[in-house]
């Protein structure tokens, strides 16, 4: 099967306009006859479902939490990018496009990224109209700040809670449509499988998390907006219920999985403190606007700090190594995330790390407090400082914050074409669940942009184009044998898990998987380490199916929910490692120690690896089949990324 990305012809800046003017439409009377399923209610899912409802389609939307408002988009802190150029600092759609392509280390599709930059401005307009309380200047106009990987101020924000406010905006729009009756909401449901009838996605099997019953739902098209698979690493900044299972079932039913090894490690998270720890907490990238990152210049002093004999504040100014400012004078503390994360690891590996674990660096606001005053710093970052103090029990206005990289986002995901359709007809993927816009590294404040772009401004068009051919297909019955079979398979899987009654909890096995992933498939990867990881994950997977202990409780059963997700993580981890092993280059968040420049930067190999790796499932015991979508760069020049 040859991958067809369906990119419209013509100049880059006219492709989307051309698509929209030529796409097929569905008239209002026919829209009422068509059903769409949306799985997930984060920025992408909620905005898509609300928009479909407004257009007049029948929408069924599903979320895992008790309310659509709790999807993990809510935790995004820093902001959302747009090319408004309100700051008059030279921004434009073209610049946002170039920054995103470059930030992604030239592994994203030009046409998709350009469209993203193009609709970014509509998103801000839309959100303001919805009453999202963005930060404003005294003039009453919108305020901006800067983020990593950019030299302009193009990030819009609502205190340190931008994701929350944007999600509540989309949740409001969704609630409006639920009230109107165009959208039916199903909360506390988890997707267990996608149902394919005659080669097209026609429904899903979900588990009702309260009753434990399996339920069937049908539609003319299915949208997967279920986020990323970062929790394969166990510890991450993702929410506890975030998982990759919905996308993984689609993969097993024929949708290709693209660039799974492109995982993002965020540089500014609160360091790990103990074995019982369940998740990591992010400190917004916006802190790097004013915070300066450093470690002691003298390894001996770092040792004394680790042993608790001296404190950060005992290190005089001239003995501090502001290593990002030293290595990257042009971007300083605002280098992209992958660069900042690796630089922190490099210092800690070299013995300059702080905290009792040696796995932390300082993020210091002393200079900002002197320059702006404590009150101004408090106004900008107050809630983040409070959160830090609550977790670490130290006051960041007095002692510098300690930070360390943690798994945060997955650029990889279901392969989609320009229409956000997977390789299975009628099965779409939006937001973090797809692979399309961020290449090998996502820039800060771009996830919110992409989620809302997909949901408000891309899917409403491309979905219509798909459904225009489906107006003669009547309501799909859930009594079809395909539904029967899919449900039966899920039931068998659940029965099998419940019957094991072993001696390890789900979390114990998940933690072990996380350790393999973090050590061997994390920030720095090697051929040997990856080969070992694949073996170890396979063994652990076998152990899981012999040793996991899940209580056989009827109805609500949290341990069973976790077990089903971890069973998938144990398969996903292997694919991530395989993809990382295949990609003999370093790019963005994928760093292979064998491929680096003399000064330790990622060394791409454009001649051999300028492609999207899309995997086709070949059964549980076989290696997946690799398909390559060549990436053509006609509008940007391929260069070694340089933030110096």
């Amino acid at each position: 099967m040859k991958l067809n990305s369906k990119i419209p012809s013509g100049p880059l800046s006219e492709k989307w306009t051309k698509y929209k003017s030529e796409q097929k439409l569905v008239n209002p009377a026919n829209k009422r006859k068509l059903d769409i399923i949306v799985v997930g209610t984060g920025l992408a899912g909620a905005s898509a479902a609300a928009s479909f409802g407004e257009m007049g389609f029948n929408v069924k939307v599903f979320c895992i939490q008790d309310s659509p408002r709790r999807a993990h988009s809510i935790a995004a802190q820093g902001g959302i990018n747009a090319a408004k150029n309100y700051a008059n600092d030279g921004d434009s759609v073209q610049r946002l496009f170039v920054d995103t392509i470059k930030g992604g280390d030239y592994r994203a599709r030009e046409a998709n990224v350009y469209r993203l930059a193009e609709v970014s401005n509509n998103i801000i307009d839309q959100c303001v109209a919805q009453g999202v309380p963005f930060a404003r200047e005294y003039s009453g106009l919108l305020a901006n700040r800067s983020f990593g990987g950019a030299q302009v101020s193009r990030t819009f924000y609502a205190k340190g809670q931008t994701g929350q406010q944007l999600l509540l905006g989309a949740y409001g729009a969704l609630s409006k449509e639920i009230e109107r009756g165009t959208v039916k909401m199903y909360a506390r449901r988890e997707m267990m499988d996608v149902v394919i009838v005659d080669g097209r996605a026609r429904g899903i099997i979900v588990r009702n998390l309260v009753t434990g019953e399996l339920e069937r739902y049908s539609a003319h098209a299915v949208v997967i907006a279920t986020g990323g698979y970062g929790r394969v690493f166990f510890l991450s900044t993702n929410a506890m219920s975030s998982n990759g299972s919905a996308a993984w079932q689609c993969y097993k039913k024929g949708a290709f999985m693209a660039n799974p090894c492109f995982t993002q490690i965020h540089p500014t998270c609160i360091p790990v403190h103990g074995d019982y720890q369940s998740k990591l907490t992010l400190m917004s990238e916006s802190l790097r606007n004013d915070g300066r990152i450093w470690v002691p210049k003298d390894a001996e002093k770092a040792r004394l700090i680790r042993e608790g004999k001296i404190k950060a504040t005992d290190i005089p100014e001239d003995e501090r190594d502001y290593y990002l400012e030293r290595r990257y004078p042009a971007f300083g503390n605002l280098v992209p995330r992958d660069v900042a994360s690796r630089a922190a690891k490099e210092r800690c590996d070299a013995g300059y790390g702080v905290n009792n674990t040696g796995r932390a660096v300082y993020l210091d606001f002393k200079e900002a407090i002197q320059r702006l005053g404590k009150q101004a710093v408090e106004e900008k970052y107050g809630n983040l400082f409070e959160m830090y103090e609550r977790i670490v029990d130290e006051n960041p206005y007095v002692t510098p914050m300690m930070i360390y990289p943690a798994v945060h986002y997955t650029m990889g995901g279901l392969w989609v074409d320009y229409e956000l359709q997977t390789t299975v007809k009628g099965l779409f993927a939006a937001g973090e669940a797809n692979f399309s816009d961020h290449g090998a590294n996502r820039l800060g404040a771009s996830a919110l942009m992409q989620g809302l772009s997909d949901g408000y401004f891309v899917l409403p068009y491309t979905m219509q184009n798909y459904l225009a051919d489906q107006i003669n297909v009547s309501h799909v019955s859930t009594e079809l044998p395909e539904f029967e079979e899919a449900e039966k398979a899920v039931k068998q899987k659940i029965t099998k898990i419940l019957s094991i009654n072993g001696d390890e909890t789900v979390d114990m096995i998940h933690r072990r998987l996380g350790r393999i992933m973090w050590e061997k498939v994390g920030m720095s990867r090697t051929e040997q380490g990856l080969k070992e990881a694949i073996e170890e994950i396979r063994q652990l997977r076998e152990e899981f199916w012999q040793r996991v202990k899940v209580p056989n409780t009827e109805g609500m059963n949290n341990e069973l929910e976790k077990a089903l997700r971890v069973a998938d993580f144990l398969e996903m981890g292997e694919l991530i490692a395989r993809d990382a092993l295949m990609r003999n280059e370093s790019c963005g968040g994928h760093f292979r120690a064998e491929y680096q420049t003399p000064d330790g930067e990622a060394q791409r190999d454009d001649e051999h690896y300028a492609f999207v790796a899309a995997y086709e499932y070949q059964g549980a015991d076989n290696e997946p089949l690799l398909h390559k979508e060549e990436l053509k760069f006609e509008n940007v020049e391929l260069k070694q990324r340089n933030y110096k």
Partner: protein
């Protein structure tokens, strides 16, 4: 540290619940309250017992999923702190900690410490939004917004929808939750246009869903983990009466 837990256990909405005591030893002081419950649950699973069910998700104080009555206070007694952001260092060795679900008629129990808060979603559905469609909106800077008002709108919008205000209220009132949403939009020119309709619809829905009345005890403000102010209730009342008089 070693602690004793008294936890409300209830199989499902219809069965009778009771407190069950658990002794938990060697709890790390750096663990969060929910991580402490994870440790308990791991022990229960290994013993073959049913683990304690509770709602939680982001574990960084923003999703609003977690909510437990801890020693008689929603989210515990510490100010501006959600349960997931409460750490065991705030307790002492040998403490007995009582953990209960939200107690409110509007929030029926699902299992153990997990309750059904869908009534809050229904309140928002009644009108807690600006009725714009996707697309066709003016440029974001076309309508300037007074910064002080925008800041007040943001403070009101910080509500995480956890339901602590309802659980804290002796009348089970949702006035702080609704007041915050009504205020957010009433303060912005974009939302002001339909503010009269909005406040009336949301108040009517609040009554229909069985939430109690407000008797100004301010327990909601005292227990809100996001510090939402009762001045939002006053603002809502003002809009509500203004709309009534006009009618």
């Amino acid at each position: 540290m070693n602690i004793k837990l008294k936890i409300w256990r209830q199989r499902n909405a219809t069965s009778k619940g009771k407190f069950v005591e658990y002794q938990l030893n060697d709890v790390p002081a750096e663990a969060s309250f929910l991580e402490m419950l994870d440790i308990l649950n791991e022990q229960l699973v290994l013993k073959g017992d049913d683990p304690v069910t509770f709602d939680h998700d982001c574990r960084e104080g923003i999703c609003g999923a977690c909510g437990l009555y801890i020693n008689g206070h929603p989210h515990g007694k510490f100010k501006n702190t959600t349960t997931c952001q409460l750490h065991m260092r705030k307790f002492k060795d040998g403490d007995t900690i009582t953990v209960e679900p939200w107690r409110s008629e509007a929030f029926p129990i699902i299992k153990d410490l997990m309750v059904d808060r869908s009534a809050l979603d229904k309140l928002i559905q009644a009108g807690g939004y600006i009725s714009v469609h996707t697309g066709g909106v003016p440029d974001a800077n076309a309508i300037p917004v007074n910064k002080h008002k925008a800041d007040l709108a943001m403070d009101a919008a910080a509500c995480i929808g956890c339901g602590a205000c309802v659980a804290a209220c002796k009348n089970g009132s949702a006035m702080l939750f609704v007041g915050a949403k009504v205020s957010q939009f009433a303060l912005l020119p974009q939302g002001e246009i339909e503010s009269e309709d909005r406040v009336q619809k949301m108040v009517a829905r609040m009554d229909a869903l069985g939430f109690g009345s407000c008797s100004n005890t301010y327990a909601c403000q005292a227990e809100c983990p996001k510090g939402i102010s009762v001045s939002n209730i006053a603002r809502m009342n003002r809009h509500f009466f203004a709309a009534k008089i006009k009618k």
